[in-house]
């Protein structure tokens, strides 16, 4: 349409179509539609399933009644809560000390300790359980340390999950302890307050929101983790293994749905608390606060060095044991080293394909996930149309964080395996694994992008409209380059999680789309623990390489853009 045409036809009676607005309208609506189909609909299905019997007849709350009258299942609920509370106390205690050492002391090697603490993120949660069996199992290297107690059960589960959740808690605690106002400490010192009193009246209250948030996150991660109890739980049943047994073992989908909804409960609670707490934490730190810089103190620094070293020995020890297990010919009878366990095709002709499947799945997840989530966040934050739909999009994007992987996987099974669903073709394909993984980790990525986009000047869209440049071109030329380090970070985050995740995938894989993490689970299940360790180590190696690649690429990105990037946005 030329300028003359517009002049001739435009008027109040002919609202003109604007390509930029059209693109953002379509974008917002597409985003809402995608999340409705892939987040809301499956969750509604699982809810409905819990009200039906296995042949699909509506039975009201019968399933719940049946659940709460089954002694075995109630015992699992009790076991889960008990484990979750224990892990919460232990992991929060350890992580608080570790985080305190990293942020509030002058302990040496803080950077190294920080890196060591991230080890568990690189591995599937199963790895710790397998390693613990090598350490404390019936033929464990140091089983004497348990004084005759069995590692198969609560002890093993608590130890294994503590390893797995440690970095997640630590990151929250470090954030909470980093935002200290030096002025408060100076005032306390000026008044001659004792250290102990300063700790309880300033440090702990200042970090209290982080502590609360961390507590709920650990509780939820623990109660919803499936890998560790599956491997090391023995006869000690928990909710997460119950779902698996009900659905995969007894094919009782309705009971699985009931357990799934019960698992959803702590997750939603934790999610809500986290949301509230985050808002407070931001408000608490005033713009005039002076950042706290710790002063050296020999005794304290030494004590924390010893403490962090012990925790690090545990973390490295678990990983080291897994590496060792993967290399020993036949523990404990033949201790010569071998690479034979890495020959996965020897056990299963398609042994290696599960690893390549994982790579493929993780790559697609990173690629599609990053693009879709970035676009979603862009439309939520920058589109100038449909305020209601944008609010809905943002709300839908928050839901996955409150949904445990197992529940999501189950919901996908129910939703996509229905033959009448036009999308049922996805069932059993690589695509559904990718989709479920993108959805599973959607929220964290979405929030990172929204935060970054919020920091960009809100008038870029207005300026580009006045220059007759459509908004999507400005997004590609301005927003994407500015956010590139974060985009890379999110892609790696999705890749790593896709490599290590078990929970959703365990319900969704087909024989030809089996993933490496599932292979670890299956090999362990049939007693092939050395190859299982080897596969877990392959996942760790992949994660480490990808992480190193990210460091190199980010560094060169930042170097190339240093001319215009005055402060680091990575």
């Amino acid at each position: 349409m030329s300028a003359q045409d517009i002049e001739a036809t435009a008027g109040p009676a002919f609202p003109s179509i604007d390509r930029g607005r059209l693109v953002s309208t379509l974008g917002v609506l597409t985003g809402v539609a995608l999340l409705l189909v892939f987040v809301a609909a499956p969750l509604i299905t699982i809810f409905l399933k819990s009200l039906q019997n296995d042949s699909g007849t509506f039975v009201g709350l019968d399933n719940f009644v049946r659940y709460f009258s089954s002694a075995g299942l109630i015992q699992s609920l009790f076991n889960s809560v008990q484990i979750a509370l224990t892990v919460t106390v232990i992991a929060c205690g350890l992580a608080f000390g570790y985080a305190y050492a990293l942020t509030r002391t002058c302990m040496p090697f803080r950077g190294l300790f920080r890196a060591i603490a991230m080890i568990p993120i690189l591995a599937p949660s199963l790895l710790s359980a397998i390693a613990l069996i090598y350490l404390f199992g019936n033929q464990g290297m140091i089983r004497e340390l348990l004084f005759g107690n069995s590692v198969y059960g609560p002890i093993g589960i608590v130890l294994g999950i503590t390893f797995y959740v440690f970095p997640h808690v630590l990151m929250i605690m470090v954030t909470a302890l980093s935002s200290a106002d030096a002025r408060l400490y100076e005032a306390a010192e000026a008044m001659g307050t004792s250290r102990w009193r300063v700790f309880w009246t300033i440090t702990v209250p200042g970090a209290r929101y982080g502590l609360i948030s961390a507590g709920f996150v650990v509780f939820t991660l623990t109660i919803t983790d499936f890998g560790v109890p599956k491997v090391i739980g023995g006869n000690f049943n928990v909710l997460a293994t119950d779902i698996y047994k009900q659905v995969v073992g007894q094919q009782s989908f309705s009971m699985g749905a009931v357990v799934g909804l019960i698992l959803l409960f702590p997750a939603i609670l934790s999610f809500s608390v986290d949301r509230i707490v985050r808002k407070r934490q931001v408000a608490q730190m005033s713009a005039r606060a002076v950042p706290y810089a710790p002063q050296p103190s020999k005794g304290r620094d030494r004590a924390f060095f010893v403490f962090c070293s012990l925790v690090s020995v545990f973390l490295i020890g678990i990983l080291g044991t897994a590496v060792f297990a993967s290399l020993v010919t036949y523990w404990p009878y033949n201790l010569s080293l071998t690479l034979a366990h890495y020959d996965f095709n020897a056990i299963d002709p398609n042994g290696w394909s599960s690893f390549t499947n994982s790579l493929e799945m993780a790559a697609w997840t990173a690629l599609i996930g990053t693009c879709v989530i970035f676009l979603g966040a862009y439309f939520v934050e920058k589109a100038d149309t449909l305020p209601f739909a944008r609010g809905l999009l943002h709300m839908l994007a928050m839901i996955p964080m409150a949904v445990p992987g197992l529940v999501l996987g189950l919901a996908y099974v129910f939703f996509f395996s229905t033959p009448t669903n036009p999308l049922s073709g996805l069932y059993g394909t690589m695509a559904i694994l990718v989709l479920s993984t993108v959805v599973h980790f959607y929220t964290v990525a979405h929030l990172s992008f929204v935060t970054a986009l919020k920091q960009l000047d809100k008038e870029f869209e207005a300026v580009s409209a006045s220059l007759k440049v459509p908004a999507y071109k400005t997004m590609l030329r301005v927003h994407v380059p500015i956010c590139l380090p974060l985009i890379l970070n999110v892609a790696i985050y999705l890749f790593l999680n896709a490599m290590t995740t078990v929970s959703a995938a365990v319900f969704l894989y087909a024989p030809d789309t089996k993933l490496a993490s599932i292979a670890v689970l299956n090999m362990d299940d049939v007693g092939d623990q050395a190859p299982a360790s080897a596969m877990a180590i392959m996942i760790v190696l992949t994660s480490v390489s990808v992480k190193l690649l990210q460091v190199v690429v980010t560094r060169s990105l930042l170097a190339r853009s240093s001319a215009w990037r005055n402060r680091e946005t990575a």
């Binding site: 517009i6 000047d457 409209a465 006045s466 220059l467 500015i482 001319a563 215009w564 990037r565």
Partner: protein, 396 residues
Amino acid sequence: MNMAAKRPNRVRPAAFVAPQDAPSHDAFLEIHNVSKRFGDFQALTDISLTIERGTFVCFLGPSGCGKTTLLRAIAGLERQSSGRIIQDGRDISNLPPSQRDFGIVFQSYSLFPNLTVNANVGYGLVNQGLPKAQIAARVQELLELVHLPSSGPKYPAALSGGEQQRVALARALAMQPGLLLLDEPLSALDAKVRVDLRHEMKQLQRRLGVTTIMVTHDQEEALALADVVVVMSKGNIEQVGTPMEVYANPQSAFVADFVGHMNLLRGTAQADGTVRIGSRTLQLDPNQVEGLTGDVLVSFRPEDVMFRGLDAATDNQLQGYIESVDFLGAFSRARVRVDGFDGAVFEADLSANMLRDFGVDAGSTLPLALPRNRICIYPGNERTAGLVKSSGERRA
């Protein structure tokens, strides 16, 4: 309440306004009955205004008065709830911003940080698919126009705030828009840079003849730059006029209070055409009264308080007690108390040589007069500009 303080017979917001030297009436932008609501909040109430081609117009008012909303409605960045906007004969009321014809500069500069100055200025031109050489030439021409001929290869982060705003100005002018919109363009800059850039913007606008609308809360800026000042308050236009008119002849207590320094004292209009403050009676020009009675605000500027040349014929002579004197360089501003004013205090300007000649200091008493032709009265008894400049109000 500010509506009550307005004198309806004097306000002509929709009036046809033009700079005095404009050759002919040539309406470029017509705003007809534009209203805008955000939920329960009425941001603009039935605004009508006509802007002449080639003029420099300032929307002036305190924050929240609707000036930015009106600018954004003109740009299409906010859609008006009702009303029409016609630019250069074309009804643009429902057009998206990309189909309107304007360049815009924001307070935050809004330069693309990852693009060089050249790429920023040429951003729209590149999208038009013009040949590279032509774009480069045009960009260079624009950079020279804003006195940054050699900054092209730099990134915005390497420029000072004032330089960045010049680049933003060049970028806004690149597409040769018919209308230049400036949203508080100088507010983020240092005082000195602000005055320099203000002067340059005025020159540039004169040279290019582009119709320009600037939003500002800084009345000094508006008076210095504009051909026409549109004073706004609470979603309404209070007054439209040249800077001189708005300053010398404010049509409402709000304008009187907001533009320039103004003493506003509570008084009572009398049937005989005088006004009482406390126990004192002041003479006014007859045209001031116009049937007003009851509570009024009595206004006069600090610079209009007379200290010299008082004789028997001078009206409104009073004995002023100087409470304090603020030295402000070229002149000093005194806080003056007068017996019988019910404790009200007003400000009066004293020139430097007055101070020397009279030896005025805090505590001295001297005769003064409030010239009857410099006093304006407005109905009502509350200041509305929200900028209480003297504590006299609070004491009274």
